[in-house]
Amino acid sequence: MYEEKEKKVRIGMAEMIVARNPMIITTTVGSCIALCMYDSINRIGGMVHIVLPKKEDFDKKNLDPVQKYADTAVPALYSALISKGAKKECIKAKMAGGANMFPKFTHPILKIGMDNANAVREKLAELGIPLAAEDTGGNHGRIIEFEVGSGTMKINTINKKERKI
């Protein structure tokens, strides 16, 4: 159980939040990705809810928020953590989501979950941010609770036992 004083904040699609301990950030994802970054020494962490892989592929008019796309959301979250006081060398990432919710259906959109996860991995590697853990893929939705201080992600699904990464 979290202590009562810890605030719980929900973020929606294409939203991002960065906070100091204590705070729990929650979201729900299917094909989307909940990407979390944290500095457990300085107790600062954040989450972004990513919808699509690459901004330039889908947002020709440049109207959408950077948080919506993996390739722009990863650096945005990283910079926001640093602005809040996190140290570059202490920042780690975790992610969950990227499911295919309709495995029997063959529309190309259904591989977007996998594409999202790949795009996040690619950008993290490019920026040299270690991916400490992930829970991606499958055919189920995930309710995420992220504890910013410790960097623990609690993942709940409709049929399986709670998982912590």
Binding site: R10, G12, M13, A14, E15, T28, V29, G30, S31, C32, V51, L52, F58, D64, K68, A99, M101, F102, K104, F105, H107, I109, L110, I112, G113, H140, G141, R142, I143, T157, I158
Partner: protein, 214 residues
């Protein structure tokens, strides 16, 4: 009021009127869908007057506000021409109740096995969405044929995000039509949610206006 404001005001009025037409057409479909559901479970089901939401796709989970609700979602899309996704959504507990009522009424059985439950859910989707569309088809004199049903049981927002991602990919606004079912004296969540394409929305408005003008 300057010229620009007058124009904006008139545009808003026009949109309001168009949405009103869509809600009226939708309520005809919804009424038939509720009747079909009532017959299936032999209980009175009423409907709420439909709502139309037009928003950026990523805002829709907040608009619908169902978030972590365990849900059974039957998905169909319209065939040919109109890129339009249709969801029949029940709170999981409610879907279980409907299936067990169906098991008793239709098959004379207390419980169904997993495969039969799956067929029952998809059959409910066929009947409810089918009556919704055929009532609308008759009214607007357009054929609205859906694909066979697929269903998933999961957290509502997680099921929804793929449809919203698809709209984002196509650079489309979400035009969402929602009508909810109500069981007498019991609060349940059951709804038909339609992601209308702009083409179908415009076509429905055009036919609706023509009908109003006689």
């Amino acid at each position: 009021m300057n010229g620009e404001n007058v124009e904006g005001y008139e545009k808003d009025l026009e949109k309001d009127m168009e949405n009103e037409i869509l809600r009226e057409i939708g309520s005809i479909g919804a009424g038939h869908a509720a009747t079909a559901l009532s017959e299936l479970i032999q209980e009175k089901i009423s409907i709420t007057f439909p709502e139309i939401y037009v928003a950026r796709p990523e805002e829709i989970p907040k608009v619908l506000g169902l978030h972590e609700m365990p849900s059974v979602v039957v998905y169909k899309k319209l065939q040919e021409g109109y890129d339009c996704d249709i969801l029949l959504v029940f709170e999981k507990e409610e879907a279980d109740k409907i299936v067990s009522t169906m098991a008793k009424n239709t098959f004379g059985m207390e419980e169904l096995d997993k495969e039969m439950k799956k067929s029952a859910i998809e059959e409910i989707g066929n009947i409810v969405i089918g009556s919704f569309l055929s009532a609308m088809s008759n009214f607007i004199d357009m054929e609205l044929l859906p694909t066979p049903p697929i269903h998933v049981t999961d957290i509502f927002d997680a099921v929804l995000d793929i449809f919203l991602a698809k709209l984002c990919l196509q650079n489309r606004k979400a035009i969402v039509f929602q009508t909810c079912f109500k069981r007498e004296e019991e609060k349940i969540y059951g709804a038909v949610i339609i992601f209308l394409s702009e083409e179908l929305r415009d076509e429905l408005v055009r036919k609706g206006k023509a009908w109003l003008e006689g």
